[in-house]
Symmetry: C2
């Protein structure tokens, strides 16, 4: 018998029929003798509807009131799921954030969980009752309702699992696990049975938007085994765990990519101390987020400086850079939006030299030119022309043996 | 400067535009220097929508979960109104039932208020903040959300006014006050400036459905001056107060009527002790509510026994009565559905003889036959044929001088 926290997202709660489907899933885990705590999101689209209503009155109004309104979405679904479980003969009881209580700081609309009182949930589990808890919300010190921001229900699930020292936190979604890459780009992409928290963080931040990043960080910090699986298709999903030295680690876990970036380059920058700050300071002041940053070793007292930004910020970034180039006496500013970033991710590359050169060799043999390179301990990213995205992903997927094993 | 509790119903909260209209009304009271606490209902139709959703899963499910779901309707409107007030520069803060807190018993879906902690509301008022409180809901001892049942927002308003010893509780609705009778039947009906709690109770229970009866009882018990007025039309409305000996009391305040009743008569009932209980017991056992009950003094050891029930219960009541008649050896059972009850209401009639005879004389002069009569201290009711309803109301309205005074 295990204690399992299950989190169901907005799509899984999207209609009465789907809520009844979720109730059947929960009932089957109970029948197998497990203790289950369920965390749910609002019906898909409901949080947006509520926030739109609030914004139609005053888009810059009190965030406390936005939270008061938005938190009702989950209050409806916890009640509905508890009713659906009751109808199946499963004892259940709904809890809003304040009823648990889940205590947060007072940063409305992006609050952070500070503390969870696990007593009521534990008592329910021991009495054979399934607590159904509202995700995405808590209560702050002055008794106001606070929400955790987008995707906060994942974090609620992990935090409850941590507080109760649950055996596993299962995140039910509309995909059946984490894949080696996007199956729409490489049909041979394979579902991973396991992946480490670090790899998941790199994959998530690079575009494989399966889980909210904060919930993965949280799960890693509190060592909560996390499993991503589908509400609609039966299967084991993907288990996200701490690095396990005993398991045979693959070199590479997956290939992520990001089509939303643009590249900005300043050429002929005088190569002296403080130059990076002089360039990036004004970018930060303009509220533009920078992803990759590359500076080559300079010759002749000058260097080239390149960084990537979100495509939406490209024009503004160019404008800022032209001013900075004038001030610094740089040669010029150029850029491109028809680029993509492709990244290899894997904890295995830590202990294996040669992954980078194998990657570059594979891309070269496919005739793909590399514009930028950036590496971290468990990730190698390259920027290439956008037209080569599919070719690059498939070439690397094959080169590193990520395909589905033949049956 | 007065402390005023204002309650706005579902129609007043029916859209963003209407909520903004209400915000302007509240702002204008604040500008006049008054302290204001606002109590609101859910948007019209929203509570029904939520309960329908819950019932679609399990109509006989846990009432606690029904309350959890239904209470979200007001949580949305308090947030929206607080935002609308903020936009007008009026400091405001929303409160759900549990945030006040408003403590109730645990009779879910028809809970009764036990206690209101007035401290936070009082602090807000003194700090120049308008608290916007969710009507219809509270929190019970085990921290569950409980709703007060239909119309409960009126009760919330009165209870808060009582707890804070407010100068007035204003109930905003879609009519501009209490009238001498229904203006659709008698266009000369006049809005009353004042009326007593007792009169209001008699008028409300007889069909002038302006206020929820429980809230009037509550206001009378705690001596909270209650004012009914319109959200949409400016005007003083009707003040409902304790009887005031100093004011010139009119004989009659108003004329109520009820078209929903049906009459059931058992003839030739053996006239012996316990006969009323023998007849009405089985009616109560069948869950049929009885309104008027009339038994004439019997002659020859037999009597006739008549009562009225809701028309929906008429057929069932006849069935029950036929069985009872057999058992008691009564002569027969008859009835009618094409009847109405018309009632004169007024505290003034206590000290004036002759009201009843004046009423019967007026009806007789209009050729209207009286089928039943029943009287209480401040009310005289007659049952007549339904076809005479308008004639009877207009005749009595004129006979007792209730018309609008000429300008």
């Amino acid at each position: 018998m295990a204690l399992i926290v299950q989190k169901y997202g907005g799509t899984s709660m999207g209609s009465v029929e789907r809520i009844e489907h979720v109730a059947h899933k929960v009932a089957s885990w109970r029948q197998q003798g497990h203790q289950v705590i369920v965390v749910v999101s609002a019906m898909s689209g409901e949080t947006d509807r509520l926030l739109k209503l609030a914004k139609s009155i005053d888009p810059r109004g009190s965030k406390r009131e936005f939270d008061q309104i938005a938190a009702t979405g989950e209050q409806v679904t916890i009640g509905l799921l508890a009713l659906a479980l009751g109808k199946l003969g499963v004892q259940a009881r709904s809890y809003t954030g304040w009823q648990v209580p889940i205590r947060t700081d007072d940063a409305h609309m992006k609050a952070r969980i500070q503390d969870i009182d696990a007593q009521r949930l534990r008592n329910d589990c021991e009495a054979g009752i399934v607590p159904v808890v509202a995700g995405f919300q808590g209560i702050c010190a002055d008794n106001s309702v606070a929400t955790l921001g987008r995707g906060g229900s994942d974090t609620t699930g992990v935090a409850i699992a941590a507080a109760l020292k649950a055996d596993e936190c299962q995140i039910y979604t509309d995909v059946d696990g984490v894949y080696t890459t996007d199956p729409r780009v490489e049909p041979k992409a394979r579902r991973l049975d396991r992946i480490t928290f670090e790899e998941m963080l790199e994959l998530a931040s690079l575009g494989s938007k399966v889980l909210q990043i904060r919930s993965v960080e949280f799960a890693g910090k509190y060592k909560v085994p996390l499993r991503v699986l589908s509400t609609f298709v039966e299967g084991p999903g993907t288990l996200i765990t701490l690095e396990d030295n005993k398991m045979e680690e693959p070199l590479i876990s997956g290939i992520a990519f990001n089509r939303d970036e643009a590249q900005v380059t300043m050429t002929g920058v005088p190569d002296r101390p403080g130059i990076a700050a002089a360039i990036l300071g004004p970018v930060g002041d303009a509220n533009i987020e920078v992803d990759m940053i590359v500076q080559n070793v300079g010759g002749d007292g000058a260097t080239d400086f390149t960084f990537t930004v979100h495509r939406n910020d490209y024009e503004r970034a160019l404008e800022v850079m032209r001013k900075v180039a004038d001030e610094l006496g740089a040669v010029g500013v150029s850029g491109a939006t028809d680029i993509v970033k492709v990244s290899l991710v894997g904890v295995g590359m830590r202990s294996h030299a040669g992954i980078a050169s194998q990657m570059f060799k594979s891309l070269a043999s496919a005739g793909i030119n590399i514009r930028m390179i950036s590496t971290s301990e468990i990730k190698i990213s390259v920027v290439i022309d956008e037209m080569y995205l599919e070719l690059a992903v498939r070439t690397l997927h094959k080169a590193f043996g990520l395909e589905e094993a033949a049956a």
